[in-house]
């Protein structure tokens, strides 16, 4: 029993506590205040019959996203697990692929959340003739930023691989993750746009659009964090020298801020639609 109170075990207890807290918090019902803030942020009125539906959709999406992030955290903590299982092999798991798992989990969870939204089709099937476009739901600046990370990381990897040291093999992991991130955001936004509208009535359609915009922002936010983490990792290997490396090491934290900022940013689908109509 005493050996389960070592520092390695205590780290795991904290991790498990965070994991459980994330999953439980993600699965909790959406409160009135949370719903109100969400509605204000996305410029919609959530009332009457639509309220229950919107709450259910938001709760389901949040539960999936947070659970995926929590699982990613645990995969990212594989070296911690190995410290208590086989300490000699812990170093084998301390690599970039494992470190990136929380962000990858978040991105994957955001995409799955959009696929898993529950929809029941009524007998009277109605549709608007409004054309849905991905720019209705997320600012293209973020998508361009995610796309730009691919060539940037590739250039950094080329420069890094030219260096004759032991990190040269690892630098190509960054561009690969940036590509995965771009694919995730492309697929996720396609799902957001192409998911059928099965609700009838102008109010319900606005809520449906707001749910899409919310989902697209979560996907873009997670993908930005993933790309930034991968890009700065590659740049860190390439420019591994003193102050520059420290600056780059801080960028993932900035990416976390951007992720949170994107996921809570104000967005109005109708206004976005008008701007590029």
């Amino acid at each position: 029993m005493v050996h389960m109170l070592t520092g390695d075990w205590l780290s795991l207890y904290v991790l498990w506590a965070v994991t459980v807290a994330l999953i439980v918090a993600g699965c909790r019902p959406i409160t009135d205040r949370q719903l109100e803030r969400w509605a204000v942020r996305l410029g919609v009125l959530v009332k009457g019959d639509h309220e229950r539906w919107a709450r259910a959709q938001l709760r389901r999406a949040r539960a999936i996203r947070w659970t995926a992030f929590a699982l990613g955290l645990n995969i990212g903590a594989l070296p911690m697990y190995m410290n208590v299982i086989d300490v000699d092999r812990a170093g084998d798991f301390a690599n970039a692929a494992v470190a990136i798992a929380p962000f990858a989990g978040a991105a994957l969870g955001s995409v799955i959340a959009e696929i898993a939204l529950f929809q029941r089709r009524p007998n009277r099937r109605a549709a608007t003739l409004t054309i849905r476009h991905w720019r209705d739901y997320v600012d293209r600046v973020w998508i361009i930023a995610i796309a730009a990370a691919v060539p940037l990381s590739a250039i950094a990897a080329l420069v890094g691989s030219a260096r004759a040291d032991d990190v040269s093999r690892l630098v190509w992991f960054g561009p690969l993750v940036c590509v995965v991130s771009l694919l995730a955001v492309t697929l996720g936004v396609r799902i957001v746009v192409n998911r059928p509208v099965v609700v009838d009535g102008a109010g319900a359609r606005r809520i449906d659009d707001a749910l899409r915009a919310d989902g697209a922002h979560h996907i873009a936010g997670a993908a930005i964090a993933l790309s930034a983490f991968a890009l700065t990792g590659t740049l860190g290997h390439t420019l591994w020298s003193g102050v520059v490396a420290i600056v780059f090491a801080l960028v993932p934290f900035l990416a976390l801020g951007v992720w949170h900022g994107l996921a809570t940013t104000r967005w109005n689908v109708d206004q976005a639609r008008l701007q590029h109509a």
């Binding site: 089709r121 007998n123 009277r124 099937r125 109605a126 549709a127 608007t128 003739l129 409004t130 054309i131 849905r132 192409n194 998911r195 059928p196 509208v197 099965v198 009838d200 102008a202 359609r205």
Partner: protein, 129 residues
């Protein structure tokens, strides 16, 4: 204004015809203007829960009627010149007035005139029954 279309699954009218009629009506009523793009086949079929071919069929029928044009890059667009329905209606009204004058000259009643029109519609070659 948001233009909507709806499909009644229980209706005896086929979904393709329901869609065609509604889009025809929206275009002729001016709710959809020349140059307006219609949703992609994928989007509309997904939203209405009908087969893609059903939407394609409705779009093709509208294209045949000259109400929309299909462009490879831009999708399906409301035609710049909508065939004038009022002109057609005016011609039918003029023909009806002439017929009424002829019936009156023969001393015929409204009922006799309507009955004769119905018979003519069912018997004259080339006319729809």
């Amino acid at each position: 204004m948001t233009v909507t279309v709806a499909i009644e699954i229980d209706s005896p009218t086929p979904p393709f015809e329901q869609l065609r009629q509604q889009l025809d009506g929206q275009i002729r009523a001016g709710h959809l203007l020349p140059g307006d793009r219609l949703p992609t086949v994928r989007q509309l079929s997904g939203d209405l829960g009908i087969a893609k071919n059903t939407v394609v069929r409705a779009y093709r029928a509208l294209e045949r009627d000259g109400l929309v044009t299909g462009e490879r890059r831009r999708g399906t667009i409301v035609a710049e010149r909508i065939p004038d329905a009022t002109q057609r209606e005016a011609e039918i009204t003029a023909a009806a007035r002439q017929y009424v004058r002829d019936v009156r000259a023969q001393g015929g009643s409204v009922n006799e005139a309507v009955a004769a029109v119905q018979v003519a519609f069912n018997t004259v070659d080339g006319d729809p029954a």
